[in-house]
Symmetry: C2
Amino acid sequence: MNEQRAISRRRLLTSAGATGAAGLALGTPTGALAHAAATDDDGPALTALGSTAVPFHGTHQPGITTPMQAHGHLAAFDLAPGAGRREAAALMRRWSTLAAELMAGGTPETDTGVARDAGPASLTVTFGFGHHFFEATGLTDARPEALDPLPLFSADELDPERSDGDLWIQVGADDGLVAFHALRTLQRAGAETAVVRWHMKGFNRSPGATSRPMTTRNLMGQVDGTNNPKPSDDDFDQRVWVPSDGDPAWLAGGSYVVFRRIRMLLDAWETESLDEQERVIGRRKGNGAPLTGGDETTAVDLDAVDADGGAVIAADAHVRVTAPETNGGAAMLRRPFSYHDGFRADGAPDAGLLFLCWQADPRRAFVPVQRKLDRGDALSEYIRHEASALFAVPGGAAEGGYVGQALLEA
Amino acid sequence: MNEQRAISRRRLLTSAGATGAAGLALGTPTGALAHAAATDDDGPALTALGSTAVPFHGTHQPGITTPMQAHGHLAAFDLAPGAGRREAAALMRRWSTLAAELMAGGTPETDTGVARDAGPASLTVTFGFGHHFFEATGLTDARPEALDPLPLFSADELDPERSDGDLWIQVGADDGLVAFHALRTLQRAGAETAVVRWHMKGFNRSPGATSRPMTTRNLMGQVDGTNNPKPSDDDFDQRVWVPSDGDPAWLAGGSYVVFRRIRMLLDAWETESLDEQERVIGRRKGNGAPLTGGDETTAVDLDAVDADGGAVIAADAHVRVTAPETNGGAAMLRRPFSYHDGFRADGAPDAGLLFLCWQADPRRAFVPVQRKLDRGDALSEYIRHEASALFAVPGGAAEGGYVGQALLEA
């Protein structure tokens, strides 16, 4: 399921200031893509960070099972007044063409040049449709019930101006200029049809900055993502993708993404002792292992009791409340970015998680889990849900096609 | 002058998904620093991106001649009411100790864990003092005239709330979590003495994303930094550093940094033809070469005329107006970050350059050049200066000492 391929590894990393260390050729350079022509043998090496390209075309859209990138943009758009189904179709065709070209490291016509010289840097572009998109395009009959607005949760403090939207773009890349360039190119190309509703920026670890596999840390310092479904799991497809014989048919190979902007109350969190932090989560902060022992990947033993007969994992520990075993098997693929937008008037960081989770049906994944969290998660004292959105994310486009074609040309 | 050293290169980059490619040991692992212990031989490789450490102690502060990092934070602070010289000295000692520890990849006591598992990722922390710092600390006698407020320029549209400040921290790192963690750790440790006045975030290319040497591109797509003074230049020290026998003595080995938040009017810029963009700058967009020929590093021929006898480099071309030859030799070390803070109500990106330039005396560098730009720079039509600040940046701390000690303990 790993959709990445290293397309140009002509030269291996040589550290700035290190002597010599001539380039070692690993892998097979294809040389076919435009960005390869921009490399400069006299300059520093283009490493896998820059040279890795993710394919745009395929069964599923990119940016869902793609390894998390260092930079992310989330942008929601509303259709401009007067734009309907025809304009939306033209927009999705134009956006798909551009996304494919940018992800391959190419330079679209009338390009601004910002990404020139850089490799594709694992760029992905992912498109989604919100609830109101179907009214604006006269396609309400095709709208799945699973896209109905999420229920309000008691702890929600949502800002409608930073929530929802007709259209959604997720951009991820391991280079900040490549990511900016992709978003700006798409926004500019769609400006007559799609008006920016909200935009947020996030980040994750840079490749090569850590030797920790797969999981990352969030801004609370916790290992995050340990229990994520893995593409190699037997039930991964069933959990994440709308089946090819599913409903609606136009969404086959697609998914639903729930977005939540979750601010972390770091002043409060960082004041707690390590013991208390670990009790709240149910895992060791250092290595992410459950409080019931083992290492990060060891299953949590929810039944374990201590010498006094008390539960080792507290009743309200985050790991217990979110465990599939306690949620009728509900699980979703979490693929978040951290965010940090400066400091609030009280000095606390405006920082937290751009939580994104992917599932075949939010009514059997995010919603029941969040309902349970809303009732009794020890972590809720330290976080605030400030924005929310739900989008239907169509399957991937075939060569020559575009994302959403099965809906817009049905 | 390259202060970077690779401190742990036990294992070379292996691409995720590539088969095998066992670790090649290059260089000499020191193993002495705390972060090395956190590496995990079963995980992906920690590359030079993550393992490179920049020393905190030395003649000059880090983050000035250090190669530009992928992530940057600029934060200005005002001293809290009641805080004076003694509190400022304690703050600078605490901040210096923390900065040295973080830059070495260590984990300070009471650490939040956000950077755990990551290498130092070329983290740098740089401290500066603003004009009002000297009043707040009763040290106005020690304030250099070069720190007097910058003149207002006719095109300035400055926001005072995002300008100036008593204290300034620049954080740079090639990993976003490492950068966040450093800034948050410092802010938290200083919260009783220093109140955040403004904060901005920026980015540059990730190492390995491009093979272009030294220079980067800005969000207009232009090659930026070509004519920067280089540490190997004969007059570099004279241009950038306050001399050891200079005035004031406490600033020996230090520098002055001018900060300008420069928004780019990308909707207007991107509408211009390539020819017009190149005329405005005086360089080719593709490779950064002067319009008078050669490649990026070829000197601009300001006297060149075309077949009609007109100047090849227009009278108001940016490269002419900023050329040291036309500014009495004034030159400064530019070391900016790009920024992108979403989109404005009119749909234009709120994006541009966090311009930072370093010089021994702003009255002989930034000020005369900016005066000239203000009078007739073709680029000025496409940019807006929205915030401004000037800080005196002391020399580096010796082991056991702290930044600003010669001022605060004089």
